[in-house]
């Protein structure tokens, strides 16, 4: 057993780890429950298995096939999106959907059915998965696609790693003619401004998302910067595609946990103020390489350490259009009032393209992501309040970024969970799953395995 944590560095749990090496191997036999683990870019406890074993998929990182004519790629589940980009971009293809970091695995992208800046156009990652192999602890191997074993396909996409191990998957990429993105930045004064720009941007822009100044209050509540972009057409081509895989990044790294005093109300305000005014004045539209456009945080290695040893809590919710205005207002007001403000607050509109995944998080409406340094009780109370607001608005909270939602909230957010439960592999479980389904605890002794409490 050794101590592990996730990207949010909270919670810490004691768990074993076993490395997977070959996709044709049987699942390792171990005592207690297992859980696949990709690159650990989930924030809370959904990629942790306290008291049990995680199956590290990093060794399942082989490519199987890529057809540059059709853009269909087949690879093992531990292949990172970064690897796929290195393969695809020079040949004129891009990921159909990408989260804000490229250091996630294909298996992790399926299990959380991740979304990107183009949800309104492309839906979730799961929509672009053509098929995959699912290996269960009974030794069975199933080919899953929308046609074949469609129920297993639907249960596994967004299935939080609980239905078995995805050994390989086939994904349809999207054609691009240029690795550069034409980006426009549009400032908005408040929430209504955001909704207006968002509505008018959706028709012409593949990628949209906004940064919100979560310290602005009153009439400026919800002010921020709206980013929208499209891949540049061919005539913008400044570099031949084949040489275009620039890796950006200053090589900055956060080497140690920053002490708590670096992150206080004043420094966060200063950061938000400077960011807002600096970004506002940059030329728009401008041409930016896809790497800083999609993955601004990846250039600072280990940025999650700025929150210090106690880690931080992410909170990402979606609220439906009908209740969104009031709900977002309340969420922003509460987070500006309560405790330490969020460093990076992101707003985005989700479209109505359905996911094949039963447990998929995205649904039509607006999604807001906030992060809070873990300051114990105070932070927890605040996030609990945000959760309540979300529930009352008929929204949902994203499991990939959660370390604290209650079983009741989970049940309210994921109405398909009963149907889904029948597809969980009996040998698989996670800290998250036991937390939100206390009745499902297979081993009572697993409780109390959490090393640190807030």
């Amino acid at each position: 057993m050794s101590t592990s944590d996730s990207w949010g560095r909270f919670p810490r749990v004691e768990q074993q780890a076993r490395a997977l090496v070959w996709r044709s191997d049987a699942l390792p036999r171990v005592d207690g429950p297992v859980l696949p683990h990709g690159l650990g870019r989930s924030y809370g406890d959904s990629c942790l298995n306290g008291g049990g074993t995680v199956l590290l998929t990093a060794g399942l990182d082989r490519l199987i096939d890529f057809d540059p004519a059709t853009g269909v790629v087949r690879c093992e589940s531990g292949v990172s999106l970064d690897t796929l980009l290195r393969l695809a971009v020079p040949r004129g293809w891009f990921l159909p959907v990408t989260p804000g970091t490229k250091f996630v695995t294909v298996g992790g992208a399926i299990a959380n059915d991740v979304h990107g800046k183009n949800h309104h156009r492309a839906g979730t990652f799961g929509r672009h998965v053509r098929r995959f192999e699912l290996v269960r602890s009974d030794g069975s191997r199933r080919m899953c696609s929308p046609e074949e074993n469609a129920d297993w396909f639907g249960a596994t996409i967004g299935g939080l790693g609980l239905t078995g191990l995805v050994t390989w998957a086939e994904v349809q990429l999207t054609p691009i003619r240029n690795p550069f993105v034409v980006q426009e930045t549009v400032p908005f004064e408040n929430l209504d401004g955001f909704m207006r720009v968002s509505a008018e941007s959706e028709a012409d822009h593949d990628f949209t998302m906004s940064w919100v100044d979560c310290l602005a209050r009153g009439r400026k509540l919800g002010r921020g910067l709206f980013y929208r972009g499209n891949f540049a057409p061919t005539q913008f081509d400044r570099l031949p595609l084949a040489r275009s895989h620039l890796s950006h990044g200053s090589g900055l790294a956060v080497p140690v946990d920053l002490p708590g005093f670096c992150l206080n109300r004043l420094s966060v305000s200063a950061f938000n103020f400077l960011y807002y005014h600096r970004e506002r004045t940059k030329p728009s539209p401008r041409l930016v390489h896809y790497d800083p456009f999609f993955y601004p945080l990846d250039s600072v290695y280990g940025w999650n350490r700025i929150y210090g040893r106690r880690g931080f809590l992410q909170f990402q919710c979606v609220v439906p259009h009908a209740t969104a205005r009031d709900a977002l207002k309340e969420l922003l007001e509460r987070s500006a009032r309560g405790g330490l403000p969020s460093f990076l607050s992101v707003l985005k509109t989700f479209g109505d393209l359905p996911s094949p995944g039963w447990m998929s998080f995205p649904r039509p409406g607006y999604t807001l992501a906030l992060d809070f340094a873990n300051r114990g009780e105070k932070t927890w109370r605040l996030v609990e309040e945000l959760d309540r607001v979300t529930r009352e608005a008929g929204g949902a909270v994203y499991p990939a970024k959660d370390a604290r939602m209650s079983p009741e909230s989970f049940a309210a957010y994921f109405p398909q969970r009963e149907r889904f439960s029948a597809y969980i592999d009996p040998a698989f479980s996670s800290s998250f799953w036991r937390r939100v389904n206390p009745a499902s605890l297979p081993l009572p002794s697993l409780e109390g395995r959490q090393v640190s409490i807030p």
Partner: protein, 245 residues
Amino acid sequence: MKKVIVLGATSAIAQATVRLLAARGAALYLVGRNAANLEAVARDATTRGAPKVEFRALDLNDCEAHASLVERAWQALGELDGAVLAHGVLGDQAESQRSWAATELVLRTNFLSAASLLTELANRFEAQKAGTLVVISSVAGDRGRQSNYVYGASKGALTVFLQGLRNRLAKSGVAVVTVKPGFVDTPMTAHVPKNKLFASPEQVARGLLKAADGRKNEVYVPGFWALIMLIIRSIPEPVFKRLKL
């Protein structure tokens, strides 16, 4: 190296090397024990850009098969200008002390089978007056230690064999590159607790190819092992034999 045979191609260091070679557009002939795993490595190499990848499942301890293996690889790729020998076992020192069979298996896999393959390959490379032989030995071959002298002896013998071979082939323009990794984080060492001395297979693969490109003789990867082994080699035997190493 444009047409390369890789022996022990499913080992972690070999896989990492295969990826780098594939990205450079080298044609590959991969040999390992497990056909399904070899196929996985071969497809990965093809997808990463290797123009031609063939593979063959074979237990390399079967030295009788080596001549025909090399012949087949030669036919498959048209000729060969590079060979990477990466197969090997760590063995279990305690088990080897109890059983000659266990000792023999380590010596056979790490030394005898390599010597046999190198004999085949060296003769062909010598005849064509070109080629690069890259062989993974180990820092463990630099000095026998109680904790793993059977493995160490197999690698030490290999290192000496390569020195002689290099001496012989120098005039034919064939490079013989001995790569001596230290601790590498691979399935072979999965049971060992990791520390700062451990290198990743990718790191070793990059060092290996750099040495091959530079037609180096003996290299330590990572380089700091040269210093560590210099110190270990210079401890006088009367002192060394009382150390717990």
